[in-house]
Amino acid sequence: MNLFLLFILIGLFTLAERLSFLVFLGNWEMPPIFLKALRYAPVTILFALVSPSILRTDGMIAISFSPKIIAGIAAILIAWRTRNILMTIAGGMLIFWLCQWIFSI
């Protein structure tokens, strides 16, 4: 698919979410079950993206520690302790590079 078209479609769906209540739904109350499920959406999708990108290499599930796994575990600990996204990225990248360097020796 053309990238511009793809981005427009993502933008339109996102705009629909932003305008949902502000413009279209007003006072309508979401069914409780839907509201409940909604709360878990961001966390579940982000973890679903993270786990294969860290635990899989070359289409296989990693069975030994790789720089990505070590850095990923470190990043989870940093994120948990600091709750700071920038610290998580910086710390994770540093450990990732450090491990790559150590593994290459």
Binding site: E17, S20, V23, I45, F47, S51, P52, I85, I89, G92
Partner: protein, 231 residues
């Protein structure tokens, strides 16, 4: 916090309130720009995406999925799911912005993202009767828009000069970790997250990244089934 006497004052206050947040926006834009370049997105396409989507996490999710060759509908669905929180933002801003015209609500709605929402809802809950609320929100929303586009553009142009060996695309999953881990509010969130991660890991070979959708469906279902008290 004081309330505003004029709309100019409200607008300027909005801009001022956003100033401390600017240093936090710029690195995200840089990461986005560099990662987008790495999967072959041109600066023009990247800036276009930042304008029409205007949501960092969703943009990065789409980039990550584009890089792994996911089907278009999976990319659209995933980005939309990451942005589901905007439904909640939209709903909670509605009582305060309802008095304003349709065009104001559409205009301000376009800018709804995490930081502007946080500023507005904090101010509106404290001053429910303040006048010129729309101008306050427009002030900080425009700040976010401006700095987000500038940072993304910088990253998109810098991206060409950063060697692929640095592995900077690994910053994307790290950023997801940085966003997702603090969002785990209790044990139910943790279980939902772990279920989703495990299913995603084993379902990853499915074509078009369909495993992602299955994983999220499993995680959300488990979350709803267990339930938690923070309703």
């Amino acid at each position: 916090m004081e309330t505003f006497k004029t709309k100019q004052e409200a607008f300027i206050t909005g801009i001022r309130h956003f100033a401390p947040i600017v240093p936090g926006v710029i690195p995200f834009g840089l990461v986005y720009g560099v990662a987008a370049t790495a999967v072959g997105i041109t600066p023009l396409q990247g800036i276009f995406m930042s304008i029409v989507v205007l949501a960092g996490a969703a943009q990065l999710v789409a980039i990550e999925l584009l890089g792994s060759g996911a089907a278009a509908w999976i990319i659209i669905l995933s980005a939309t799911m990451v942005n589901l929180r905007f439904l909640i933002y939209s709903a909670s801003l509605t009582p305060y912005l309802k008095p304003y015209s349709l065009w104001w609500r559409i205009g301000l709605g376009y800018f709804i993202t995490d930081q502007p929402y946080a500023l507005s809802i904090a101010y509106f809950t404290e001053h429910p009767d303040a006048p010129h609320k729309q101008w306050y929100q427009l002030g900080h929303s425009l700040m976010l828009w401006f700095w987000w586009i500038v940072a993304c553009a910088m990253g998109l142009f810098l991206g060409d000069f950063i060697p692929a060996e640095w592995g900077l695309t690994f910053a994307i999953p790290l950023m997801f970790i940085g966003i997702a881990v603090p969002a785990i509010k209790n044990r139910t969130f943790l279980v939902a997250a772990v279920v989703s991660a495990i299913v995603a890991l084993f379902a990853a070979p499915l074509p078009n990244n369909f495993g992602l959708i299955i994983a999220v469906a499993c995680g959300m279902t488990v979350g709803v089934l267990i339930g938690d008290d923070e309703e």
